[in-house]
């Protein structure tokens, strides 16, 4: 069981959260000419490496806020949690 420290509510069990994937992926700017490759990278292509991974979680059964979590994908150690608008 993961224990995730929600920046709004404090330490909560994994059961209250739902996963949102890689948080380092940036949506291409609106109203700007972008290549198919940029769009592919946003929609499909992922690094998904072993080790530190910055990811989005939603505190679905809590405050319902999206948050960022820095977690190790091999050991599941959680290093840091941030509000969605904060950068690491």
């Amino acid at each position: 069981m993961l224990h995730i420290k929600c920046p709004h509510c404090g330490m909560r069990s994994q059961n209250e959260f739902s996963y949102g994937g890689d948080a380092s992926v940036k949506r291409p700017e609106l109203n700007k000419e972008i290549s198919d490759q940029d769009w592919d990278n946003f929609v499909y292509n992922r690094k998904s490496l072993r080790g530190k991974h910055l990811e989005l979680w939603q505190h679905l059964s809590g405050c319902r806020q999206w948050i960022k979590v820095e977690r190790d994908t091999a050991t599941h150690e959680i290093f840091k949690t941030l509000k969605a608008n904060e950068d690491i």
Binding site: N15, S18, D40, Y44, N45, R46, S48, R50
Partner: protein
């Protein structure tokens, strides 16, 4: 190579079975090969076997970081099926079914293929309709499919919950009678033994540390046991695909996730087919030893831990008990996890890449084991001929760019879509 037969069994009995040949030798890497396959799991071993058998390429090395068949090949729930709706998946898988049917004879190794049938349960009228549609598509592609009503399902699996007031009543199911299971380790060992006998070097405990790429071409691979010169490399590393892709400066439409499976204590024969729950993600079969073998959803977040987490296991087993209440009385014997290469549309990739001489085989999601022979066969063709076979045309890497997604279930990494 010594043939496994009743006569050799008797002959070797006289020497107390002490003089059997080794099934495969422990090779040390040479300086140069024609083809290097990275990953000594089912797909890698099968690829090497078909390269040697179908394409007469025998100067091959299989490089494996751990031990042969020690990844997902030893961790799956051994289900073999071709009950797909889309042509690309159906024709590929049915080609594989034909290889499964003759595999024991072909490899001279008993893989204990058991075509016991698979039943996908339906829990609503709408689901029955969609199963009828999938069944018709399967039949049009020459795959056996039978739509069962509630009574017919009850005859096959009377131990399932057919009571009146259940949350997900069983309306019927779609059965593929020719689907089944096989002994997973034997498949790896059978392919390894035959590949070795044709001259393939199986190199275990050898980790890939980097690639030698220049002018967009593969020139070699660097390993923990020395550099190897090679013009063609096939990647068959399932859950480690993202790690090797990074060493090649590629980002691919695949994420690495954890999938769990578990078995109960062995009990007397009770279930003689594979059954899947239709209102969630749960599948069950009974092994020859009597254990109930079960699996379901991903843990849900990127993971390289080859061990699971309890919330998902609890969720999966809740579905199992809803479907077959007697399971709640059994004791859990073992649970384990494997790391899956989850592609973004839920379908695999067997293709060339933008690097000349680099071939990619990944994205197997929940269904890698059953694809072992077809994947090996088509990947061998792709490597040997430097072009994809008609059977794996749909499994292209470029489909994410062109929009030709193969969204059989449309699941991929996003388990919450189901």
């Amino acid at each position: 190579m010594q043939k496994y037969s009743i006569f050799n069994l008797i002959k070797n009995a006289f020497s107390g079975h002490q003089k059997w040949d080794l099934a495969w030798k422990d090779a040390t890497p040479k300086k140069e090969y024609d083809v290097v396959i990275i990953g000594g799991g089912g797909h890698g071993l099968a690829t090497a076997y078909y390269l040697a058998k179908e394409h007469n390429i025998t100067n091959i090395a299989i490089i494996e970081k751990g031990w042969l068949g020690g990844g997902n090949m030893g961790r799956n729930t051994t289900i073999i099926r071709s009950n797909y709706m889309h042509d690309d998946n159906a024709l590929f898988s049915e080609f594989g079914m034909n290889l499964w049917r003759k595999m024991s004879q072909d490899l001279n190794y008993n893989v204990m293929f058991s075509p016991r049938g698979i039943i996908n349960l339906a829990h609503s009228d709408a689901q029955m309709n969609i199963f009828a549609r999938r069944g018709n598509s399967m039949r049009l592609n020459g795959i056996d499919a039978v739509l069962l009503n509630r009574e017919e399902v009850k005859e096959i699996i009377p131990m399932a919950d057919f009571s009146e007031n259940v949350r997900f009543p069983i309306f019927g199911g779609l059965m593929q009678p020719s689907a089944g299971t096989a002994r997973h380790d034997a498949v790896a060992w059978g392919y390894a033994r035959q590949a070795d006998s044709m001259g393939v070097d199986i190199i275990q405990n050898c980790e890939v540390t980097g690639f030698d790429v220049s002018d967009g071409k593969i020139n070699g691979v660097r390993t923990s046991r020395g550099d190897i010169k090679v013009k063609k490399i096939g990647l068959c590393v399932a859950g480690s695909t993202n790690i090797l892709a990074e060493k090649l400066n590629m980002t691919i439409p695949v994420e690495t996730h954890l999938l769990q499976a578990c078995v109960t204590e062995p009990v007397k024969p009770v279930l003689d087919s594979v059954v899947t729950f239709g209102a969630g993600h749960f599948y069950i079969s009974q092994s020859d030893k009597g254990e109930m073998v079960m699996g379901g959803d991903l843990d849900g977040y990127n993971s390289y831990a080859q061990r699971g987490n309890l919330p998902t296991l609890q969720h999966v087993l809740t579905e199992g008990i809803a479907m077959m209440p007697f399971l709640s009385k059994l004791k859990m014997l073992r649970t384990w996890g494997g790391i899956m290469d989850m592609s973004m549309d839920g379908s695999p990739i067997i293709d060339k890449t933008h690097i000349e001489g680099l071939y990619l085989n990944c994205g197997w999601c929940y269904g890698g084991f059953k694809a072992t022979p077809a994947s090996g066969w088509t990947f061998a063709h792709t490597i040997a001929q430097d072009r994809v076979h008609k059977l794996n045309e749909g499994y292209s890497l470029s489909r994410f760019n062109t929009g030709h997604l193969l969204d059989e279930k449309g699941l991929g990494t996003k388990t919450w879509i189901s």
